[in-house]
Symmetry: C7
């Protein structure tokens, strides 16, 4: 069977991912959790705006409706 999007997220757990958000925002971090809304928990994450690093956080919980795509 073809992998469903949530299975692809499951496989990405503990891996570094790029999370592109609406509004020119991006996180690069370790995927630590997700749910069916694509709410995400990222660890050791860098936040970028328009391509530049603007901050680092140990943990961040992203609300799923902001997500454009997640690339493992």
């Amino acid at each position: 069977m073809s992998p469903k999007p949530l299975n692809a997220l499951k496989e990405a757990i503990s891996n570094r991912v790029i999370v592109e958000l609406k509004g020119g925002r991006e996180f690069r971090g370790t995927l630590d959790g997700y749910d069916i809304h694509m709410n995400l928990v990222l660890k050791e994450a860098e936040e970028l705006q328009n391509g530049e690093v603007v901050g680092k956080v140990e943990t961040t919980i992203v609300r799923g409706d902001n997500v454009i795509y997640i690339s493992p």
Copy 2:
């Protein structure tokens, strides 16, 4: 099991959190409650706009659909 986003919020209860909202708004306060929509209750919170403190409130109830991310 990997922590789901709501579990990560549960663990953040009583801790100081940064809440980034749509529209350049931010709150920094103590997480006092949440629900499945990511509606939040913050205590002793500072409100920031584009990085500058614009107000302080004892309690604020944030509607979840405004949230971009929450960093404990």
Copy 3:
């Protein structure tokens, strides 16, 4: 147990609250009712736009999806 956002609203009933809405709009009034969508009933409310009072109403019913936050 940590107070959930709707409990925090319940406790704010009959108190003066600040209601920040999307689009630079704000109400200051007495919270008279709410529901799970954060639809609100405010009494003796002042409406502000970008910080200036633009009107006063005895009662207003605010549709919840406009709410950013409510501060008792």
Copy 4:
């Protein structure tokens, strides 16, 4: 018990109300009906844009997601 928003709408039936909509639009008319989405039926209504009357209608059915607030 505190009045819920829909009860407040029920009490406003047959009264003149101001309905503020997103996008600078406003209706002033007699509330003739509503439902749980805040879809509204207004009678003998004036439509205003940015404060100026731009039209009058005998009946109008407003889709609830456009509503910011309703003031009886």
Copy 5:
């Protein structure tokens, strides 16, 4: 009992209606059908943009989330 918005639509079936849409668009046509989302079927409809007629169609199916109001 006060007419609910969908009843008001039911009564407007086969009548000419003005349908104001988001984005400065408007249809004037004969209401031929609707559903609970306010999806509409219009017959012999004129499309207007910012007040000017830009086209005529025999039938059009409008997705409800674009509707601001419907005036019979």
Copy 6:
């Protein structure tokens, strides 16, 4: 009984339709399928932007929330 919007779509199957989308986009093609969200399958479709043909596709699946109206 008045035709409901989805029935009107059913009758349009295999016919050429104009699909107006948000953001100045338009498709003209043969309606090959739809569902309750107004997700659409179009065959032999031309894509237009602001009235000019910008591409042709054999098949395209349009997500319903982009649809303004469909004219058979």
Copy 7:
């Protein structure tokens, strides 16, 4: 029976597809999975912005609400 949009996606599995997203973004890749929200998994995908290739990824998970259309 006419193919429903999700069936059309099913048939596109393992094929190269063009995915047009809101905000001038586009992916071209191999469709590896989807769900009822039109969340997508793409493999060996190129990302384009306003028509220019801006990146390549082995796998990407696109949140369905960003999708305008998918062309196999």
